[in-house]
C-alpha cells in the first residue's frame, strides 16, 4: 500500500498476555467448571422475563453514540419519539395482559425519567407483585468511558439520582441495574455497588450469574441475553416474528436439556413493549409464553429471586 501509516515498534508488546483475563474486572471461569445449581422444587430452567420500559428523549445528544432504537431523523424526529412512546401508552398494557394470562413473574427495568414522563405507569408497575430494577436515567444518558471520562461526566451523581428517584417513586428497594444500551464506564460497577445495587445485567459473556470485582466489593452480573432480545432479533437482524418464536423455543429446549446434565440454567428474555406490544406482534409473545410455561421444568421468577437462590448455593 502507498502512504501506509506505520505502527509503533511496541505494537507487538503484549502486557496482559498471561493466565486469565486481560483485565481485573472479573475472573476467568468456564461455566462447566462451576457447581451445579438446583432451582426450587426440582425445576431445571429459571425463566427471567425482563420488560425494558424506556424513555427516548427527542432532543437526543447521542453521546458517545446513538443508542439503538433512538432518534435517527433530523429534529424533531416525531416518528421515532412517538413510536417508542407507544410502548409506554399502549404496548405495555398488552404485554401485562399476556404476562398475567400465563402467570409469569416479571422484572421491569425502568428508565428513572419515566417517573416524571409517565407517573401513572410507574405507579402501576410498582403496584404489581413483580420486581423493579433501574434502567438508568433515560435511553440517551449513556454510561461510558475510562475513569477520567466517568468523573468528568459526574457519573457517580447520575447513578445516585437515577436510583433515588426510582426508589422514592416506587417505594421499593431497587437492587438491580440495567445500563442504557448495556454500556458501562470503567467506574460504573463501583458506583452501583456504592449505591446499594446487588447486581447489574450489562455483561453478556455468560449464561449464569458471576461475581464482578468492583473496587467497592463484589457485584453480581446477571446474564440478560442480547442474542434472545426481541429488539436484536426483530429490529437488528430483521428476522420474522415466526423466527423469533422458533429461536426462543429452540433455546428453551436446549437449555432444559443442558440443565438436566449440568444443573439449573436461566432463560432470559429481554422484551420491549414498543416492539412486542404492537398489535401484529403481541400474539407471538403469547405463543412464546404459552410454550415456555407449558414445560414442567420451568421456574418463573424475578431476577432477584433467581440470584438469591443462586448465591445461597455458593460456598
Amino acid at each position: 500500500m502507498t502512504d501506509i501509516k506505520h505502527l509503533p515498534e511496541n505494537y507487538l508488546d503484549y502486557e496482559q498476555r498471561s493466565y486469565g483475563m486481560d483485565h481485573q474486572l472479573y475472573n476467568w471461569s468456564m461455566l462447566t467448571d462451576r457447581k451445579a445449581i438446583k432451582w426450587p422444587n426440582g425445576k431445571k430452567l429459571a425463566l427471567w422475563i425482563n420488560v425494558s420500559v424506556q424513555f427516548f428523549p427527542m432532543d437526543q445528544k447521542g453521546k458517545p453514540f446513538k443508542v439503538p432504537g433512538g432518534m435517527t431523523m433530523p429534529y424533531p424526529d416525531l416518528r421515532h419519539f412517538s413510536l417508542r412512546d407507544y410502548g409506554n401508552r399502549v404496548g405495555i398494557f398488552r404485554v401485562l395482559k399476556a404476562l398475567d394470562k400465563y402467570q409469569v413473574k416479571s422484572t421491569f427495568a425502568i428508565n428513572s425519567r419515566l417517573v416524571q414522563q409517565a407517573p401513572y405507569l410507574v405507579r402501576k408497575l410498582a403496584g404489581r407483585d413483580d420486581e423493579i430494577i433501574c434502567h438508568g436515567w433515560d435511553m440517551d444518558t449513556i454510561h461510558y468511558g475510562d475513569a477520567a471520562q466517568s468523573e468528568e461526566n459526574n457519573e457517580s451523581a447520575l447513578i445516585e439520582k437515577s436510583l433515588n428517584v426510582l426508589r422514592q417513586a416506587t417505594g421499593k428497594p431497587i437492587k438491580g441495574w440495567l445500563s442504557p444500551a448495556k454500556n458501562q464506564s470503567e467506574n460504573t460497577s463501583r458506583y452501583l455497588k456504592e449505591n446499594g445495587i446487588d447486581f447489574c445485567c450489562d455483561w453478556v459473556n455468560d449464561d449464569m450469574p458471576y461475581p464482578f470485582n468492583s473496587t467497592a466489593g463484589a457485584l453480581w452480573n446477571m446474564p440478560l441475553s442480547t442474542e434472545l432480545d426481541d429488539q436484536f432479533i426483530l429490529q437488528t437482524n430483521l428476522h420474522s416474528e415466526e423466527s423469533y418464536l422458533t429461536q426462543i423455543c429452540d433455546a428453551c429446549d436446549y437449555l432444559i436439556d443442558e440443565a438436566k446434565e449440568q444443573g439449573g440454567r436461566i432463560l432470559t428474555l429481554n422484551i420491549h413493549p414498543w416492539i412486542l406490544g404492537q398489535p401484529h406482534r403481541i400474539a407471538v409473545l403469547e405463543k412464546v409464553l404459552a410454550y415456555i410455561m407449558s414445560k414442567d421444568e420451568i421456574w418463573s421468577a424475578s431476577a432477584s429471586d433467581i440470584l438469591s437462590e443462586f448465591t445461597a448455593q455458593q460456598d
Partner: protein, 326 residues
C-alpha cells in the same frame, strides 16, 4: 497497490484433473472452530478500530468472551459426538490466557493453526519485519503449548498485507525445516476463490496451497453480516454440502464450516448446527478430515497434476487493442 494479488492462476471449474480423496470420498469435510481472544484495551491501529465504543466496550468484548466461558464446551461436545476433530483457528495468546481449552482440544487430537496472536491486533500498518515477528511468535507459541508444527494460517481478523502468505510460508520452513517434507507453513485459509485446493505462488517457490475455508458457511458471516435465521443457516450448510457432494463424484471437493463458539454455540442456534452435522456425517462418501490432513494429502496427490492442468488451460489472446486504448 495491485488490481489482482496474483497469488494463483486462473483455473476454470471444468476439465480439471480428478481429485481422488482417500477411500473414494467425494467431499473432504472439515470444521474450523475459531478460538479467539479479543482484548478489552488493545493498542490503537490507525487503519481499523477494534471496538465501535470508547473503552471499555463491554458488549463486543463480552460477546466474544461468552465463546470461551460457555460456548466452547458445547461445540466440542457436539463435534465429538459426530466424530469430527476440529481444526482450530487460534488466537495463540489464548494458550497463555486459557490453557484449559488448549489442553482439552489437544487431548482430542485436534489441529491448531495460526490466527495471529490476538484478534484485536491487525496486520494493517505492520512493517514486513513486524508481521514476520508476529507470525513467528504465533507458530512458536503453538509449538510450545502443543508440540504441533503449525501448518495453516488465517490472518487475525482477516487483516492482511501483500506479503502475508509469503511470510507465513517462509517462517514455517525457517522454524521447522524441510527435511523429508515440509511440516509447517503449508496452507492458507485466507482465499475464497475455489471449492478445491489451489497451488499458491510464493516468492520462495515453496509448494504451498490454499484450502477452501468456505467463508459463506462461516457462522459470523451468516449471523452477523448476513443476519441469517438460525434454522436457515442449518439448511444453507446442508444445501452447500449437497451440491459439493454431487460434484465431488466427478472430482473431489472441499467443504469447511468455519465457526465461532460465541455464535454457533448459543442456545437458540446450536440445534440447527447439530442437524447439519448429523446430515453431513451420515453420508457414506465423506472424508471427515482436518485442514492439515487435506493439505498434506493434496500436496502429495493432487498438486502436480493441478499445476500441469493450470498450464494447459492458459490461453493467449491478442491484447494489442487493450494497449492501443491506453
Amino acid at each position: 497497490m495491485k488490481a489482482n494479488p496474483e497469488f494463483y492462476d486462473y483455473w476454470p471449474y471444468e476439465n480439471r484433473p480428478k481429485i481422488k480423496w482417500p477411500n473414494g470420498a467425494k467431499v473432504a469435510f472439515w470444521v474450523a472452530p475459531n478460538i479467539e481472544f479479543y482484548e478489552l484495551n488493545p493498542p490503537a491501529n490507525p487503519h481499523r478500530a477494534a471496538w465501535p465504543q470508547p473503552y471499555p466496550a463491554i458488549q463486543g468484548y463480552g460477546t466474544r468472551d461468552y465463546g470461551n466461558r460457555v460456548g466452547h464446551m458445547r461445540q466440542m461436545k457436539l463435534l465429538e459426538k459426530y466424530g469430527i476433530r476440529g481444526s482450530i483457528s487460534l488466537s495463540t495468546a489464548l494458550c497463555d490466557h486459557h490453557p484449559e481449552i488448549i489442553e482439552m482440544c489437544q487431548e482430542r487430537d485436534w489441529e491448531f493453526f495460526s490466527h495471529g496472536i490476538y484478534n484485536t491486533r491487525y496486520t494493517y500498518g505492520m512493517t514486513e519485519q513486524q508481521e514476520r515477528d508476529m507470525i513467528k511468535d504465533s507458530m512458536e507459541t503453538i509449538y510450545k503449548h502443543t508440540g504441533q508444527h503449525c501448518a495453516g494460517y488465517l490472518a487475525p481478523a482477516l487483516s492482511h498485507s501483500e506479503q502475508t502468505l509469503d511470510l507465513f510460508a517462509e517462517v514455517g520452513t525457517e522454524l521447522f525445516g524441510k527435511e523429508g517434507k515440509e511440516t509447517a507453513g503449508i496452507y492458507t485459509c485466507d482465499l475464497f476463490h475455489d471449492d478445491q485446493p489451489t497451488p499458491i505462488h510464493t516468492r520462495s517457490g515453496k509448494r504451498f496451497v490454499s484450502i477452501p475455508y468456505s467463508l459463506e458457511m462461516n457462522d459470523t458471516i451468516a449471523y452477523v453480516v448476513n443476519k441469517v435465521e438460525p434454522r436457515r443457516y442449518g439448511q444453507m450448510i446442508q444445501n452447500n454440502f449437497d451440491r459439493l457432494y454431487q460434484e465431488g463424484a466427478e472430482s473431489g471437493t472441499v467443504m469447511c464450516i468455519p465457526t465461532h463458539n460465541y455464535q454457533v454455540s448459543c442456545p437458540h442456534r446450536i440445534k440447527a448446527y447439530e442437524a447439519a452435522l448429523d446430515y453431513i456425517t451420515n453420508h457414506p462418501d465423506v472424508w471427515v478430515a482436518t485442514g492439515r490432513e487435506i493439505a498434506d494429502y493434496y500436496l502429495a496427490n493432487g498438486y502436480d497434476s493441478t499445476v500441469e492442468s493450470i498450464n494447459q488451460a492458459k490461453v493467449n489472446i491478442d491484447l494489442s487493442a487493450m494497449k492501443e486504448a491506453k
